[in-house]
């Protein structure tokens, strides 16, 4: 029987293997200074990011903060129609490398690691090492010779995200710092990687760690304390234990521990406690 021969409500759409995107790039910015933003947009257009296949999305925070960074970038990630999403500060200028350089870097990274989801020019490699590949507003050039580098976190001045990775930012964090770190953590949990690449531009400011930065850092540690907590899980057909260590996972999934945990939950966590 032909599928379309019977009258069924439209629109019914078949999802094809290859995804079509409306734009090649969505360039997303939180804006507090419209003049500076337009200067940034102009520098992007001059480097090949033109309106034929790019969309520029912005959130106007010039009069008041309509969105913080976590909520704002979540909106950008949700509504952008580009194959690649660039999240960047309003105070950067693409006056050194351009679109062709960026595309060459993406092609290289895809060959090295098809599971990349985030690219940037700076970030944290591990507890000891950071990488910076940027020209500051005063002309100072910080060069990283070892690129591309696999990163733990990326700096927020310029982040390129692969749209198909479906990344998101935490809904229980707010503010204007450490959203690059949060994005990288979510990407790692989903199974993706982040890299610093050889893509240089001018970043007029150097970043600052004020009181709100340390408040967000504390909130991030507290948030992930809950998010990464080991847990017993129940589904409709099985039960198991998830832990961030092999040893914890082995012990928690043993028959005796599962039995004792079930008895504990039976006594202290009846179903009615979960009703809202």
């Amino acid at each position: 029987m032909s599928f379309m021969s019977i009258e069924i409500p439209s629109p019914i759409k078949r999802v094809e293997l290859k995804r079509e995107f409306t734009f090649k790039y969505s360039i997303c910015t939180l804006v507090t200074n419209l003049e500076e933003y337009l200067e940034m947009v102009k520098s992007f257009v001059n480097q090949g990011f033109n309106y034929n296949d790019c969309e520029f999305l912005y959130i106007d925070n010039s009069k008041m903060n309509t969105f913080d960074a976590f909520a704002g970038f979540n909106r950008f990630l949700s509504i952008s129609q580009g194959e690649h999403i660039i999240i960047c500060h309003q105070d950067i200028l693409l006056s050194i490398n351009g679109r062709s350089d960026l595309e060459a870097r993406m092609e290289e990274i895809t060959k090295i690691d098809p599971k990349w989801a985030i690219l940037s020019n700076a970030g944290g490699v591990n507890l000891k090492h950071t990488a910076m590949h940027v020209t500051h507003g005063n002309g100072e050039f910080l060069e990283e010779p070892l690129l591309p580098l696999k990163m733990q976190t990326v700096d927020e001045s310029f982040i390129l995200i692969k749209s198909e990775a479906n990344l998101a930012m935490s809904s229980n964090l707010e503010g204007f710092h450490l959203y690059g770190t949060d994005l990288c953590l979510i990407a790692r949990v989903l199974g993706y990687n982040a890299y610093a690449i050889n893509f240089r531009f001018i970043h007029k400011s150097t970043g600052n760690a004020n009181k709100s930065f340390y408040n967000i850092k504390k909130a991030l540690i507290t948030k992930y304390q809950k998010a990464f907590a080991p847990r017993f899980m129940g589904t409709t057909i099985t039960r198991f234990y998830l832990a961030g260590t092999k040893c914890g996972s082995l012990i928690g999934n043993s028959v005796i521990i599962m039995f004792l945990a079930r008895q504990y939950v039976k006594v202290f966590f009846p179903k009615r406690k979960y009703r809202v």
Binding site: I12, L34, L127, T153, S170, L185, S249, V276
Partner: protein
């Protein structure tokens, strides 16, 4: 004056549809029956779009990659991901509208609703009609759950949820979705929305293989880690004690010295292989 190709984002998010109903299809006749039952229950084209992946001849997508595509492509405010073998025989779109409205008042951080799921390691809830007509109706609803059954899942589109990219297969994606939602700061619930599910689910050898992969993936995903950014360093753990101990200056100092000696930057360098060029 801002150019026309630059778009300002408004505070209220607009969606083309109220619901996007997404299904992996292996039997088009059965899918048609499902779509007709949705249509009869008020899920019509003025408010809904139907998306499907055709796995009839071969598996073009597994559940994780397929549902990830649905989550990205859906234009509805709410995304329903359901099996092809369900029929809306009882509750309709008005009931679902009402349940969603109730949930938004009870918990604005809800992101996932289902009709069955695991509450904790001891308790599970089922609110469903079986193929033989047996109705398993739960009295304590809505109830917060750890996982939802995959036969019928409603996801809030604005929660930006995703499924793991490093898991494959056709089982446990409901649990994965709930875990990702939990990590992002959202909650999952089972609600009072009864439907007919023709199959009872099965835990075959593929299921247990996937369960093992699932545990391995989350052992890595939930692991403790020292983190660094361009301006700060810290330790993340699921344990309050380890967070306290390893965020102390002395622990961070020794961990830094360890990285200095044994984890040089070169180890993270991914040179471009000339053969790849």
């Amino acid at each position: 004056m801002v150019s026309s190709f630059i778009k300002s984002i408004e505070q209220v998010e607009q969606f083309v549809y109220d619901y996007t109903i997404c299904t992996l299809v292996t039997n088009l006749d059965e899918y048609q029956e499902m779509v007709t039952s949705f249509s009869d229950a008020g899920f019509t084209s003025d408010r809904c779009e139907f998306l499907y992946i055709d796995n009839c001849n071969k598996n073009t997508f597994d559940a994780f990659s397929g549902l990830n595509r649905f989550l990205r492509e859906a234009k509805g405010r709410f995304i329903i991901m359901c099996h092809q073998d369900i029929l809306l025989i009882d509750d309709d779109i008005k009931v679902l509208d009402e349940r969603i409205k109730e949930m938004s008042l009870l918990d604005p951080q809800w992101a996932i609703l289902g009709n069955s799921g695991g509450v904790n390691i001891k308790h599970r809830v089922m609110h469903i009609t079986r193929r033989n007509g047996k109705r398993e109706l739960e009295s304590l609803l809505p109830i917060r759950v750890q996982s939802v059954d995959e036969n019928f899942i409603v996801v809030r589109n604005d929660a930006n949820l995703a499924l793991s990219a490093n898991l494959r297969g056709f089982h446990l994606y409901g649990v994965d979705l709930c875990l990702i939602a939990d990590i992002l700061g959202f909650n999952a619930y089972v609600i009072e929305f009864n439907l007919l599910h023709k199959s009872d689910g099965n835990a075959d050898s593929h299921f247990y293989k996937q369960l093992n992969d699932f545990k391995i993936k989350y052992t890595h995903g939930l692991r403790d880690r020292f983190m660094s950014t361009t301006i700060t360093r810290f330790y993340l753990s699921g344990s309050i004690i380890k967070n306290f101990l390893f965020n102390s200056p002395i622990s961070l100092y020794f961990a830094r010295q360890y990285c200095k000696l044994f984890r040089s930057k070169l180890k993270y360098y991914k040179p471009i292989n000339t053969k790849n060029r």
